[in-house]
């Protein structure tokens, strides 16, 4: 049974107060809080087995290597990748996308080739492709979104063409909550021989992902939005693609043999993991995956859906409030603007009531431009949030109204 109170007890930070009020943390799309098991896994790693990996014969190094590689197996299972060699650890979703843009992109693209992204992408899935286009002469094309925040119907099919080499698209939008029809996009892209990179940063905390069933070519996510540590993320890539890609960074661990005449590279996945990695972070990510699976992604999604539905009902009854992103079946993100009050002021007033939300452009400036707003306020829900917290959010919004509009 999904017992939210019991789950809340697993998150030490939820006991703290902010400005003398209980913390109500509704900024989960930016980063989620960490359960004790994740904090303890990192701590345990440092207290008991800290050593460098893949290089020592001593006991600690062996144990650290086992913990690190054990987490890789957990990620493989979590994404249902075919092989552990297809799981590359990075600093986060951002670095994973940059890795693909740099390594795959620069070795594959020529002038006139096209990269297709959507208007709702996070800057992390825009800027690396712009840089790649600048370097290679490829052209960036954009799938537009409609008023609800969905991809314009038919736009993907009409934009994909034989020049399209890569489609980079978010599975769930961080600014709108929109869940994209990625299976269909992958099918269309593959018809013209393009590869697809899915940005799963917002998806993995809310839904089970099966990269084999999806048949995507690359998949990226960050640990810290999945109740795991910051500074660690994952790139999944199909082995056939990864094998052909040149290394991203050079250094230790990614080589097989180094002479000044010639250096040969290590095999997958190490070819893409130069230098000492964030070992504790990887161990923590493994613990986060264990945690999420123990709660169950279906139960998490159902709980968050209930919260979103409840919050949306209240939002719709709130005078002057406009929800930004109204596609049915959204993930647990409620982005909104309030007539006459800038989101930044909303953020400060809510904070004084202990309510943490995000205000700003959410690293998705093109989405703000689309809606003609400089910024939005965004509440995003996680497995530990409650209906009472949604009430508190709207109570605090009433206070904003009192201060500003009376």
């Amino acid at each position: 049974m999904f017992d939210v109170q019991a789950l809340r007890n697993e998150f030490p930070i939820l006991k703290r107060e902010v400005h003398g009020r209980p913390l109500i943390y509704l900024d989960n799309a930016a980063t989620s809080q960490k359960p004790r098991s994740v904090i303890e896994a990192e701590c345990h790693y440092y207290e008991v087995m800290n050593a460098n990996i893949h290089r020592g014969v001593h006991t600690l190094s062996q144990e650290a290597t086992d913990a690190f590689e054990g987490a890789r197996d957990k990620v493989r299972d979590f994404l249902n990748a075919r092989q552990r060699e297809e799981i590359i650890f990075t600093r986060g979703a951002t670095e994973a996308i940059n890795l693909v843009a740099h390594s795959w992109g620069r070795s594959q693209l020529k002038p006139g080739d096209e990269i297709l992204v959507s208007e709702m992408e996070h800057h992390a899935n825009i800027v690396p492709w712009q840089m790649l286009c600048e370097a290679t002469g490829a052209v960036l094309k954009v799938i537009p979104i409609d008023e609800r925040g969905a991809l314009v119907a038919g736009a993907v099919a009409s934009l994909i063409n034989p020049r399209t080499r890569l489609v980079g698209i978010t599975q769930v939008s961080n600014a709108l909550g929109t869940v994209n029809p990625v299976a269909e996009i992958i099918r269309l892209a593959h018809q013209v021989g393009a590869v697809v990179l899915l940005d799963g940063a917002q998806a993995v905390p809310h839904m089970a992902v099966d990269v084999t069933a999806l048949d995507c070519d690359f998949y990226v996510f960050s640990g810290h939005k999945l109740y795991g540590p910051t500074g660690i993320g994952v790139l999944y890539g199909k082995r056939s693609l990864l094998e052909k890609m040149p290394p991203y960074q050079g250094g230790g661990d990614m080589i097989s043999q180094v002479t000044f005449r010639k250096t040969t590279y290590n095999q997958l996945p190490y070819k893409f993991e130069a230098g000492t990695p964030h070992i504790a972070g990887v161990v923590g990510l493994g613990a986060a995956i264990d945690f999420v699976l123990s709660v169950g992604l279906k139960a998490i999604a159902a709980h968050e859906d209930r919260l979103l539905t409840y919050a949306t009902q209240q939002a719709e009854g709130f005078e002057g409030l406009k929800i930004i992103g109204t596609v049915p079946g959204k993930a647990s993100i409620l982005s909104f603007v309030l007539k006459g009050v800038h989101p930044h002021d909303i953020g400060t007033i809510l904070d004084s009531e202990g309510v943490a939300i995000r205000t700003g452009h959410h690293c998705a400036m093109p989405v703000m431009d689309h809606y003609g707003v400089p910024a939005t306020a965004r509440a995003s829900f996680a497995l530990y949030n409650t209906a009472e917290e949604v009430d508190a959010l709207f109570g605090a919004l009433r206070r904003v109204e009192e201060l500003f509009l009376k």
Binding site: H342, T348, G360, F404
Partner: protein
Amino acid sequence: MSDLRDLYQEVIFDHNRHPRNFGPLVGANRHADGFNPLCGDRLTLNLQVQDGVIQDVRFEGSGCAISTASASLMTEALKGKTEAEATVLFEGFHHMVMGEKTTVDLGKLAVLAGVSEFPARVKCASLAWHTLNAALKNESDPVSTE
């Protein structure tokens, strides 16, 4: 935390709702754009400076209550000031919002002192002033005011 009312004083609401000196400025000879990438606030500042004296100043743009009120109050404070006096005000204002002591008489601008207790909002209050600094530095670059 410090009271929200220290930050959001009536004067600030007033200037937010009815910004003074808002709109384009015909005959401006100093100009700068300010942008706060954190929150998306944008501000355009136009000044008409003659013989080192700020004859007129107007601003345009969109921002939060703090940045709008700060820009509005700034334009009021600047009219008739010399560039040297404006620079002194800029420094005094900067010290005030950073929570540091200042001997500069800030007049009405003092209603923004509460910002120093809200570190995340210091940039909002400072945007107009940094834009002013840039505008005064761009010397006699003519700006088009269609």
